[in-house]
């Protein structure tokens, strides 16, 4: 039979692996997509080389954000999560759920930011003179997309460091809390997948269209903000449900 410390440690290691693996999946895909479209743009407009390469690198750095959050969470799980507080089943489940939350939570923003960056590079190749406008819109859009990975980071950090402590006489309430924490992690992880991808799509279309019709920039950006805000709503619902599952039982 395993000791409770060993169970918590196994859960922390599993969580660390899940977190960083899912995150690198999407960040890798997103950055590759950006670089691919940037190369296509370079082929069309070799004179815009400097600006294109710069925008591509900036975009890849922003796309990496979610993966960096996941790296931080998995390092915390490996080195700092275990020795704090009680060592029950609920603690083990909370650490596993933190990994799930951050890992799944950075998938959507990774895909979304990559799409935005790719289409911004294409737009740059079409209209190199407008590179300030296009890169600015790209960065705003990617920041909006990464907002949902910040939700996931908040939930993961709370699951690692701030779960409430109880004195239990039996195992049953512990198991219920453990399942609720797993639910919270899955909720915010899967819940940010759609909004992250979708806000990236909105920002990508907006960047592309600013490249084609630079005069309509104000109108396009307004529509982008409204659309991205509405798309974010379901991520906020998920955040609320995750908080309720963690603290309102």
């Amino acid at each position: 039979m395993l000791e409770s410390l060993e169970i918590v440690q196994i859960a922390a290691y599993l969580g660390a692996a899940i977190s960083v693996s899912f995150a690198s999946l999407s960040a890798g895909y997103g950055e590759g997509y950006t670089a691919g479209l940037a190369n296509f743009g370079l082929m069309r407009q070799p004179k815009a080389g400097d600006q294109l390469t710069r925008s591509m690198l900036v975009s890849q750095a922003v796309t990496e954000t979610g993966a960096i959050f996941s790296l931080v969470v998995s390092l915390l799980l490996l080195f700092g999560g275990v020795d704090r507080g009680s060592l029950g089943l609920d603690k083990a489940a909370a650490l596993l759920a933190a990994g799930l939350a951050m890992g799944l939570g950075s998938v959507g923003p990774g895909f979304g930011s990559g799409y935005t960056g790719g289409y911004a590079c294409l737009a740059l190749s079409r209209m190199p003179k407008k590179h300030n406008e296009i890169t600015g819109n790209m960065l705003i859009g990617q920041a909006l997309a990464q907002a949902s990975s910040i939700f996931a980071l908040v939930v993961a950090l709370l699951l690692i460091y701030a779960i409430p402590e109880y004195e239990d006489s039996t195992l049953l309430p512990q198991i219920i809390r453990a399942v609720a924490y797993l639910g919270a992690g899955l909720c915010i992880g899967l819940g940010t997948l759609g909004p992250g991808t979708a806000i990236g799509f909105v920002a990508g279309r907006a960047s592309d269209m600013i490249g084609r019709y630079p005069r309509q920039r104000a109108l396009i950006m307004r529509t982008m903000f409204v659309g991205a805000a509405v798309s974010e709503s379901t991520a906020i619902y998920s955040l609320v449900i995750a908080f309720l599952l963690m603290y309102a039982l």
């Binding site: 609720a180 819940g191 759609g194 799509f201 279309r205 269209m209 709503s233």
Partner: protein
């Protein structure tokens, strides 16, 4: 707490998380697609921007509905079991 009641409660909490998580996936992607295409449409024909924004918001509100269903079911699973 009885055995069955206990299993039901644990399942309800896990179910609430999965329900809201997967339930947010579809509306999120759908609303983003609507907004992306609206940006495209407004760029191509800016004179119709009021009409396009209205259609975008109505379309997003309709795709939001399933997200709100998930939210209601998740809240019911948390508080009424």
């Amino acid at each position: 707490m009885e055995g069955f009641e206990f299993i039901a409660k644990a399942a309800a909490f896990l179910g609430a998380g999965i329900c809201m998580g997967i339930g947010a996936l579809g509306p999120g992607i759908g609303q983003g697609f609507v907004a992306g295409k609206a940006c495209e449409g407004i760029a191509r024909s800016p004179e119709n921007s009021a009409l396009l924004t209205r259609t975008m918001l109505v379309g997003q509100a309709v795709s939001e509905s399933t997200g709100i269903y998930s939210l209601v079911i998740a809240l019911l699973l948390i508080f009424s079991t």
